[in-house]
Subunit: 391 residues, 2 copies
Amino acid sequence: MVKSFPDLNPTPRILMGPGPSNVHPRVLRAMATPVIGHLDPEFLGIMNDTRDLLKFVFQTKNTFTIAVSATGSAGMETCLVNLIEPGEEVVICVNGVFGERMSDIVGRCGGKLIRVDAPWGRIIAPADLKKTLATCKPKLVALVHAETSTGAWQPIEEISKIVHEAGALLVLDTVTSLGGVPVTLDAWGVDACYSGTQKCLSCPPGLSPVSFNDRAMQAVRARKTKVQSWYLDMTMVERYWGEERFYHHTAPISMIYALREALKIVYEEGLDARFARHMANHRALVAGLHAMGMRMFAQEGHRLPMLNTVWIPEGVDDLKVRKFLLAEHNIELGGGLGAVKGKIWRVGLMGESSTKNNVLLFLGALERAFKAQGYTKLTAGAGVAAAIAAY
Amino acid sequence: MVKSFPDLNPTPRILMGPGPSNVHPRVLRAMATPVIGHLDPEFLGIMNDTRDLLKFVFQTKNTFTIAVSATGSAGMETCLVNLIEPGEEVVICVNGVFGERMSDIVGRCGGKLIRVDAPWGRIIAPADLKKTLATCKPKLVALVHAETSTGAWQPIEEISKIVHEAGALLVLDTVTSLGGVPVTLDAWGVDACYSGTQKCLSCPPGLSPVSFNDRAMQAVRARKTKVQSWYLDMTMVERYWGEERFYHHTAPISMIYALREALKIVYEEGLDARFARHMANHRALVAGLHAMGMRMFAQEGHRLPMLNTVWIPEGVDDLKVRKFLLAEHNIELGGGLGAVKGKIWRVGLMGESSTKNNVLLFLGALERAFKAQGYTKLTAGAGVAAAIAAY
């Protein structure tokens, strides 16, 4: 042999970045289950369970609730390519990386893009959307529930009302929110929604949960042109996941095993308990960061509990701290993207990573990292003490 | 709880259909490895190993050799959406389901489709392609190396010469062939190629190995329009897998673990030994089927060793046999697709499923299934005896 490839043996990490989050051993074991055929009657039962569990976490009765056989970004593309036809007006709300990405995809669909912008870290103001909708007649309005790049937590109810009054479909990105804060598709009237598996569901990346209601599916079926993606064409994927089991592509068997197990864990914990856990750990983390003299980045009152954005203190080097945390503590911390690269950190407390242990450990390790850089504006132990007091 | 979801516990199967094939325990264990961040330096090393191993199985030096984060069908779409711009002429060779699928995608890209057809089960005749290329000036010609729906094994060298003489790019589907018969991208001059993981690589489904040579990448970079798929846009995926590590999407970490391990197993066995094993088991299977009075479906001299298509004998019921094999022997056998549904079976001997044990067991179990239906035109034990003699 020319080259030798060592055994797979990555260092175990504490995942506190923007995702993936840590995966429960039950989910890891599920992936080691022997692979069976994707049209095996037993696998069809596993797909059905997965659908039922996805409906539960999405809080929806939508028949068309499935896992797209690719990662969260493909879920975004799925919603947009199925619902947009060339020449149609589309409103995208942009307050971070993922709104930008949706805008890019609209162009690739030949849609006529109309943007509603808000500064990074802030939510989209319903009044701004309303003003825009008075000037156009879009097929759909898309926005991000939990902006992973900024930590902003968008309220949906008023937005949904405005969108539907304008006769448009509402498309929602719940990649980072699903399983961490309430996502209630039916109550909110969301028409099409996509998510990811590697955030608050604590499943490895590889699938994208997607749900379309009847209105959205009717819009897909009423298209005059074919969906531009064969792989993501929901009229065919529907027949594969549905009663017909019409062969489309080969489902990623082991990833479906993993998703089913991860969703079972969510189901067993219960949504309310899970949301409360995420919120309690968020509050303790923020108390700790404040006590260390740091300021949060996202708009007050609209901060995501699972994705905490914080300004990097002056005199502290972004990369040095992140490398220190990884090398010394095996902690992965997220850096900023785009305009806030080097200026903020993104502290993930998602799914299995949202624990008291991680909060206390992170604050302690961060204090060490600051000290290692000679940063002196800290009261020793203040961060951890404030977090303990917050529980 | 409203509903209870039982533990994941699918019955172990012997996978002898058109894929997935059986997965080695080493690969299953690799998937149970704790997930780390997709931009973690250790994961970047794992991605690099995976690239090196993919270059090995593809027999190529192409820098742009990666695993698309979705299944084989998405690999097909990747090659076509990156290389076709609206209005461009495209020649697709169609002799089965996957040529049909490529034709469908060409339409979705706005390409001008020109077909070269051959009957199902037969290969594309180079002379037919030559005739077509005299009448058009296509950007690319695409064809299938191993037609999973028919079992036909397409020779590539002469086709490649004809395609390049016409100034076109050659796109090749190696979903079922890679790792089972020689696939030599550089020697053949293939410009863009895609494959799947769940066939002769014996990795679970979920990724699509793809390789573009410089000529193909230049064609992508020279586009006047954006690639219609954001997720599959190789100009961005290239920056993610390349030195820059520019964030595009989150790679399916656990699936990459699995692919790296599956490719390591191929590397350790060696390509020649692996191809010889596939061929020996194919010959024994065919000897057995012939001895049982059955006829092969695919064109003689062009039969794939890993995907054996055989006519269902008159008086034998397709579904009854397949259900018997699954219920009594836990063997998954593949049925026919499209025009040959109910008329042929597809016996997979792919990767880990290509063993002497599976050949002997399958022939014995098939004899039992025939007997259970009251089928009398058999000499008892003839199939197994012929296979034994063939080794």
